[in-house]
Amino acid sequence: MTGDLTPDRRRLIAALLGPGEPELTCDQCFEELDRYVDAAVAGADPDLAVPGMRAHLAGCPACAEDYDSLLEYVRHADERSSPSA
């Protein structure tokens, strides 16, 4: 019955109801963020490295922003420091 919901409404309902699965707190998210990002950058499975992070990022817009920032910057910095850069 998901087809009955428009994408905007699906997103809104998802935001209101949250991830609905075990998730980290904001403090735990900050603690684990570098580990999660380094796992992602290294091509490993970050969700295996840090269970509960993905759910928290889905439910917390501010932490999701912080994750996007760190991931983007680490990739940028790695490119800058790579021998071929």
Binding site: L12, G20, V37, S69
Partner: protein
């Protein structure tokens, strides 16, 4: 080096084994991270030089973040961008040095350090964006998502779920839970901005949000809706 109020940061995480690009030794640290720790823990010129390099590294990260969000910074004058980046780097340096002993090699040292600079910059930017603005805590977004033109089938499905959700928000949540839920999920107020305005912490507010969401899910389940993860199917 002037420093503002350093934002509260939590502690650290658990070790992991590294990867091919950044191999780790038996103590779990890659070579670059070990050098950073040795230099920062030492004394004299090597220490001072490491602190200077660390500040440069943090400043580059903070400037990147400010630049990345430049299009949302209409409220800042030109020179304010670098002032904000400098202040973020200063505060991040204080935080990194204070927490140095708790770094256990869960990630590369630089990734660990970057997150403090990016966090300081992001929080400052979010707070500046909402400075002197009244926070909309009422559910202004309800009409927006409830009134758009829908097909009869869509309308029926949405009406049922949204009505149940609206009733649950009004009847099942406390005034504080409703305020936090509406502010963060409907009105887009950053949770750290709301935390500052309500004189509490981001973690405490997220706990409130989490509890509110759990209540809503429980009520919808009691009402006969099957709310699945991800796509969130619903049906009677």
């Amino acid at each position: 080096m002037a420093t503002g109020d350093t934002l509260p940061h939590p502690g650290n995480a658990l070790p992991h084994s590294g990867d091919k690009a950044h191999p780790r030794s038996r103590d779990g640290l890659d070579e670059e991270s070990r050098r950073w720790l040795q230099d920062l823990a030492g004394g004299g010129h090597a220490h001072d030089d490491a602190v200077r390099r660390l500040h440069e590294l943090l400043l580059r990260a903070a400037r990147f973040e400010v630049s990345r969000r430049r299009n949302t910074l209409a409220y800042l004058r030109g020179g304010d961008h670098d002032d904000l980046a400098q202040q973020s780097a200063d505060d991040a340096l204080v935080a990194v040095l204070a927490k140095l002993g708790s770094f256990r090699g869960d990630s590369r040292f630089t990734t660990w350090a970057y997150k403090f600079a990016l966090y300081e910059a992001a929080v400052k930017l979010r707070r500046r964006a909402w400075q002197d603005r009244e926070l909309p805590l009422e559910p202004d977004a309800w009409p927006t998502f409830a009134s758009q033109a829908l097909s009869p089938g869509e309308h029926l499905a949405e009406t049922e779920l949204l009505r149940a959700l609206r009733v649950a928000i009004v009847e099942r949540l406390s005034a504080h839970q409703r305020e936090v839920l509406v502010a963060v999920t409907l009105n887009g107020i950053p949770i750290d901005v709301l935390a500052e305005r309500l004189n509490t912490t981001r973690g405490a507010l997220y706990k409130t949000l989490h509890d509110a969401r759990r209540k809503l899910r429980g009520q919808l389940a009691a009402d006969g809706f099957d709310i699945a993860d991800g796509e969130r199917e619903h049906h009677r």
